[in-house]
Symmetry: C2
Subunit: 357 residues, 2 copies
Amino acid sequence: MSNAPLPPGSTIGILGGGQLGRMLAIAAARLGLKTHIYEPGTNPPAGDVAAAVTTASYDNEAALTRFAAAVDVVTFEFENVPASAAAALAAHAPVRPGYRALEVSQDRAKEKSFVESLSIAVAPWRAVGDPNDLKVALAEIGTPSILKTRRLGYDGKGQVRVTDARQAETAWEAIASAPAVLEGFVDFERELSVIGARGLSGEVVCYEPGENVHRDGILHSTAVPGAISRSVREDAVLLAGKILNALDYVGVMGIELFQTSGGLVVNEIAPRVHNSGHWTIEACVIDQFQQHIRAVAGWPLGDGSRHSDAVMTNLIGAEADDWTELAAECAGLHLYGKAETRPGRKMGHVTRISPRG
Amino acid sequence: MSNAPLPPGSTIGILGGGQLGRMLAIAAARLGLKTHIYEPGTNPPAGDVAAAVTTASYDNEAALTRFAAAVDVVTFEFENVPASAAAALAAHAPVRPGYRALEVSQDRAKEKSFVESLSIAVAPWRAVGDPNDLKVALAEIGTPSILKTRRLGYDGKGQVRVTDARQAETAWEAIASAPAVLEGFVDFERELSVIGARGLSGEVVCYEPGENVHRDGILHSTAVPGAISRSVREDAVLLAGKILNALDYVGVMGIELFQTSGGLVVNEIAPRVHNSGHWTIEACVIDQFQQHIRAVAGWPLGDGSRHSDAVMTNLIGAEADDWTELAAECAGLHLYGKAETRPGRKMGHVTRISPRG
């Protein structure tokens, strides 16, 4: 497989057609690259800005094969693509980032073991396979703690908080007896994330870490630089480089962190562009979406510098109904073109920039 | 016809599918609006980022009618749409900017008369309908001068320089005996342009004027703020407001100017987003493309402020073949996705920003 950069006119295949795919497709178009979206749902937001769309399920091997044969490289906006789909694709086109990153990030237990193997801290945790495991784990980790399914969790779904060891049975039922991990609560000072990228030739570039605020388990806002100290910023970037290199990663990754009195603790890694990196669209010349496209197309990465400070705020559910008021402000307004507004659904975001402090 | 803003999910119809249509489509998508491109040529660059494409000629009334019926507003990236097409469209959807702007800008003689009617200077000129007109005009205006067809000229096409009155006949043949204007040369200190916008409710917003350099009749670069003095910047913006208001204009307009010892002289007006406004993508939160979409969709305009200084350089013909070198630089690289490279063809551009001086 050649490491030569894909020339303009090449096609990037993207698994998943939501807002991340939409912003990736726009970034690819800026560089003269075409995109082809593969998405099980109809009328995906990314389809409006892509040269081609395949509507098929992630277990349709014939469709996956046709898709991979029609594109020059495959990437994804969504990490929970079945491993079988990734394998079917990899037989026909390079898949970037590769299988190892998917495998690790799809399973909370594997992810935590992997991060620990790099001597990077994660929250105290135990794998839980049955009610008895849960009881033992609760005894060891204590409460409050959170029971999370190992697979397919995002935006606070597939998790339940346990405040008392006697709730073990209810909690186990709440996650439908799925293989899980029990995580101890982390006493953090702030939440932050770092958006890192690694190119095909191994170079690593990070954006400045941002300070995140979550509400109801969903990202509410990211501020850059926020109140993050210089030494914490450096620690976050070094940690990101370690993770990217260990996975021989190609593309952009979002790493969510807790800042504690004892240092940084990894909360979660996402092998894709990340909501907490949306501020880069307005505040950087090369944003996280173009950076990801550059990486998977084998192009050199941008330097990740920002020209402005930024605060990104998500528009969740009905918050996007205020688009007329938001449009009256001279800010970076983004609406994702989703047909239906639902509570808790990410409908758009707005980024407000200010001169670098 | 209601003046209410078009809600997200609405469709903007765009006549013309080149790079301007492509960047307009991207801007519309950011705001949750869909686009539908109407273009006679196959595989238009804008088609890769649009929800729908109609391939039909500008005199196909049935196709124009179907197109207008399928969209919520019609705009264009190309001002030389036949008046008959604009009329067919206007029967089914609002066309913004409207017929008057098209009529004036499609005909150099009408454009110059219109600008003069606002007490704004243009280069000395005469309408030329036959070889005898040309001889009289050459005697009055002198040489060197430029003979330009009244219609369908852009990027230096449809024009011929006359350095001696004895070349009248050759010049007339060179423009294929088309109705024309003879323009006197303007002794200018610099070329500049102002990108102005007018909203549906009449508000006018301008970006800071940029200093332009042309090579072989094609824009080579735009620098903002360039070496333009504060008073000239103010004059340019006032002049733009006058033109936009006089046309009851809706959308973005590019106005090319000469700065002379006697003040500003209008060279050309373009009733659309303009190459000399591409720098706004990297240097402003709301760029000229989003500004145009906001105007034609009846949304409030952004304030036109820039956070950075900028220099935009076009990539003409084979210059875009250097994409690997250009990609290695952390600059705003744009490639238009054109299938074929031709000498003189605009293939992309690059914008380099720096902190505001």
